[in-house]
C-alpha cells in the first residue's frame, strides 16, 4: 500500500434529536490512496451519506461529529502548523487533521481540495441563477482563495442588512469575473455538455436530470479538488443516463487522477467504479477490502447477504437469497450491546452477543471484517437456537 491521501480514523457522528440520540456513524476508519476510487456501499439508513457529509464537514445540527479524525495529506500546511506550534496534534507527518485545524484553515482546505456531488441535482442548484453563473461562482471562489488564502468568503455566505443594502444599491457589481465565466463554459464542455456556451446561460429547469448532474460535476471540478466525494451520484437517474454519467466520471477520474469516495447502494455501480470498498451496516463498517475480496471471498454474512439478494442480469433462474428481517433502528436506546447484525444473521453464534471486534480476513492486505467468522470457520454447532431473537 502506498501513502494514503485521506485517512479516516474512528469517525463518529451522532444526531441529538428529540426522540433521542442517533448513532449514525460509529467508529468508521478507512484509508484512501491517491487516485483511487473508494466505494462505500450500504442500505438506506446505514450511515453512508452521513459518513460522506462528515468527511467534508457538512453535518448540520442536530448532528455533530463527536469523535475521530479525518487526516488529509497536505505537506506544506502540515509543516507550517508544526512551525507555529511544535506540539500540535493537528499535524502528523505530512497529514493534517481536518477536525483539529482552526476554522479558517479548514474552510480554505475544504473549499478547494474537497468537492462533493449530491444525489439530486435538481435540488442542489439555485433555480433562479443560470447554471453558468453558479459554476463560475465556484471558479471565482477558488480564484480569490488562491489570491488571498486567508479570506475565503463567497457571496453565498452571510446575510444581514448591510449585505442587503449593498447588493440593492450597487446591483451592477458582479461577483463573478469574465475569466471565471469562460472557465465555466470550458468545464461544461469537459463534462460533455453539447454547445456549452449557450447552455451556460440557461437555468437549471431547462436542463434534464442527466445534464444537470453533469453540470454539478463541472461545478465540483471548478476548484480542481484532490478529493471528490460523490453521494449516490446516479441514483436519481435512468439507467441509460447513469451509464453516461459513470463513463464521464471514470474518464475524468483517469484524466485528472482525482481521488474519489463513491457512496452508493448499488453493487453494480461499485463493481463498475471502485478499487476498494467498505460495506456499512447500522453505522459501522462491517467489512472492507478490495473489490475482489468482497465479491470473491466475503467474510461478513451481511456482505454475503447483499450479494445473494441482488438480482443478476445474466442469470434469471437463481432464486434470490434475501436477508431476513429489517434494517435496524439507529436510535441509541434501541441499539443492543451485541453485533447489530446478529438478529438477521443466518450464522449468529453465542459469541456474537458480545460486540465482535474487527479481524483481518483472508485475501489482500487491508481486508478486514467485523465478525468472528473472519477469524474462525463457521461451525453450525455453535449456532444460536432458532427463534432466539424473536422474544426481544
Amino acid at each position: 500500500m502506498g501513502e494514503p491521501i485521506l485517512r479516516v480514523e474512528d469517525l463518529t457522528t451522532r444526531f441529538f434529536t428529540e426522540e433521542g440520540q442517533i448513532n449514525a456513524v460509529e467508529g468508521v476508519s478507512f484509508d484512501v490512496e491517491p487516485g483511487e476510487v473508494f466505494g462505500i456501499v450500504g442500505e438506506s439508513g446505514s450511515g453512508k451519506s452521513v459518513t460522506a457529509l462528515s468527511l467534508v464537514d457538512l453535518v448540520e445540527s442536530p448532528g455533530r461529529i463527536t469523535n475521530g479524525s479525518v487526516w488529509f495529506r497536505e505537506p506544506a500546511l502540515a509543516a507550517r502548523i508544526r512551525e507555529d506550534d511544535p506540539d500540535t496534534a493537528a499535524a502528523d507527518g505530512e497529514m493534517v487533521d481536518l477536525r483539529r485545524l482552526d476554522d479558517n484553515e479548514r474552510r480554505a482546505l475544504r473549499g478547494t481540495e474537497f468537492a462533493m456531488i449530491f444525489q439530486d441535482p435538481m435540488s442542489s442548484f439555485n433555480p433562479s441563477i443560470t447554471v453558468g453563473t453558479q459554476i463560475a461562482e465556484a471558479v471565482e471562489v477558488q480564484r480569490r482563495a488562491t489570491a488571498n488564502p486567508r479570506a475565503v468568503r463567497s457571496r453565498t455566505q452571510g446575510f444581514g442588512l448591510l449585505k442587503f443594502l449593498t447588493t440593492s444599491m450597487v446591483p451592477t457589481v458582479d461577483y463573478v469575473s469574465e475569466e471565471s465565466r469562460d472557465r465555466a463554459v470550458e468545464l461544461l464542455d469537459t463534462v460533455g455538455i453539447p454547445d456549452p456556451a449557450s447552455r451556460a446561460t440557461e437555468y437549471p429547469h431547462q436542463f434534464s436530470g442527466g445534464m444537470l448532474q453533469r453540470a454539478m460535476i463541472a461545478q465540483a471540478l471548478a476548484t480542481e479538488p484532490s478529493v471528490l466525494v460523490a453521494d449516490e451520484p446516479t441514483t436519481a437517474l435512468d439507467v441509460t443516463i447513469q451509464a453516461q454519467i459513470l463513463n464521464t466520471l471514470g474518464d475524468l477520474q483517469a484524466e485528472y487522477g482525482m481521488t474519489t469516495v463513491l457512496i452508493t447502494h448499488n453493487l453494480g455501480v461499485i463493481a463498475r467504479m471502485c478499487d476498494r470498498v467498505g460495506v456499512m451496516y447500522a453505522g459501522e463498517f462491517v467489512e472492507r477490502g478490495s473489490l475482489e475480496d468482497l465479491f470473491e471471498r466475503p467474510s461478513h454474512p451481511y456482505t454475503e447477504g447483499l450479494l445473494g439478494s441482488s438480482p443478476a442480469l445474466d442469470n434469471g433462474d437463481r432464486r434470490l437469497q434475501p436477508i431476513a428481517g429489517n434494517v435496524p433502528s439507529l436510535l441509541d436506546e434501541e441499539m443492543p450491546d451485541r453485533c447489530y447484525f446478529a438478529d438477521r444473521c443466518p450464522k449468529a453464534m453465542s459469541e456474537c452477543l458480545d460486540k465482535p471486534p474487527e479481524f483481518d480476513a483472508d485475501g489482500s492486505e487491508g481486508h478486514r471484517a467485523r465478525c468472528y467468522l473472519a477469524r474462525d470457520a463457521y461451525d453450525p454447532g455453535d449456532a444460536l437456537p432458532e427463534g432466539y431473537f424473536d422474544e426481544s
Binding site: 439507467v239 451509464a243 453493487l267 463493481a271 473489490l291 465479491f295 442480469l313 445474466d314 434475501p322
Partner: protein, 434 residues
Amino acid sequence: MSRDTPSVETAPTDRHGEALVSVRDLEKHYDTGVSLLDRLLGGGSNPVRAVDGVSFDINRGETLGLVGESGCGKSTVGQTILRLESPTAGSVSFDGDPLAERGDLTGFRRNAQILFQDPFSSLDPRMPVGESVRQPLEIHDWPWDGQGNPAERRHERVAELIERVGLSTTQLDRYPGEFSGGQLQRIGIARALALDPDFVVLDEPTSALDVSVQAQVLNLLADLQSEFDLTYLFISHDLGVIRYICDRIAVMYLGEIVETAPAEQLFTDPRHPYTEALLESVPRVDLQERERDIDPLAGDVPSPRNPPSGCRFRTRCPAVIPPDGLDIEQESFRAITDVRDRIADREIAVETTRDALAETTEGEPGEERVAARLYDRLVDVELPEPERRRVQEGLQAVAAGEWDRAAEHLRERYESVCETDHPTGQVSCHLFEQ
C-alpha cells in the same frame, strides 16, 4: 376460498396460456387544457402522449414485465388497464370481455388489483393495518356465499392473509407508521389479495425497498403467484428484477412498446437497438465489470408532447439507417441528424454566435463566417467533404434566418426511413422489417 365466477371455479389450470388481459391500441393522452391565450393565438392543444397505441396480451398464470425508463408511460399503462385512468382510445378486454362494454366494473375491480410503489403513501396512516386489509372485503360484501357470521369470517380471512405474507396477527391493530417499508409492502400485498383476484398489477413494487428486503418481497410474490394461480403485470425500471420474476417482457420507450419477447430471449438476444442499449447500460455485480466497455446512449428522452416522427427512438439510436445511396459512417450520420434536429427545433443560438464574432472582429460578420462558427460548435466529427459542404450550406441558411429552407435543404439529402415511417411488429425497428 370461494370465487364468484363459476368459470374459474371449474378448472383454472386448464386455461393457462389463454389471454386473460388483451390490450389493443391503448392510448392515454393527457390534455393539460388549452388556455384562452392559446386559443386567441390559434394554437391547438398539445397533449402529453403518455401511452400512444400499445397492444399486448397477458396470458393466464404468467408474469408479463413492462420495463422502461421514467416517463415512458409504463405506470400509465397499468393504471389505464385497471381503469384507474380512462383511456383516450383503444380497448382492454378482461377474460374475453371488452371493459368498455361493461356498464358495471365492480366484478372486474374485484378480480383485478394493484400494488403501488410507495408503501408509505398507499396505506391510510390513521387506519390500523388490519382494517386496511379488511376494507376491500367490506366494500365488496365478502363472503359471497353468505355462510357464517360475516364479521367473523372477515376477521379470519384478514388473519389468514396477514400470516400468509409473513406478519403476525398481533400486528393487526398497529398503524402504518409503526412498520418498515418492507412490512408495509407485505400489508399492501395482503390487501391486494384479499378478494382472491385473478390479476394483479405490480407497479414498481420493490423500487422503494432496500435490496435485502426487495429480495424477500420478490420471493413472496413468486410464491403467492404459484399458490393462488395469479397473473401479474410487473412494471419496473429495474432490469435485474424484471429478469428474475417475469416470463415475458415488453420494453417501452416514449409511450410505445418497442420489443416484446420471452424473458430468456430478450436478455440473451435483444433485437431492438433500445433494448440492447438498455441492457448494456446496467452495471453488473461482477469483477469483470470495470473492463466492460459500455457505449452509452447519447442524449435524453424527447418530450412526450412532441415525440419524433417515424421511429421515436431515432434521435438517440446508434443504428439509424441512412438513405439509399448515401455511404456514410454512423457517427457522421448521427452528427448530421443532431444538427437537423436542432434546426427543426430552432435551437441554435445564432445571435449569441454573431455577437461573439462581432466582438472579436471589426464590423458585422457575414453569414458565411457565422455559419462556419456554428459548424465548429455543432459538429465535432470529421465529415466527408460533400457532407461538410452540405451542412455548411444549411447553417448558412440558418444564419440568414431561413430556418425552413435550411431544414428542407438538409432533409433532401439526409432523410432516413427512420423518420418517415413508423416501424411496427414484435420488434418495432426498421432493421428487422426487411
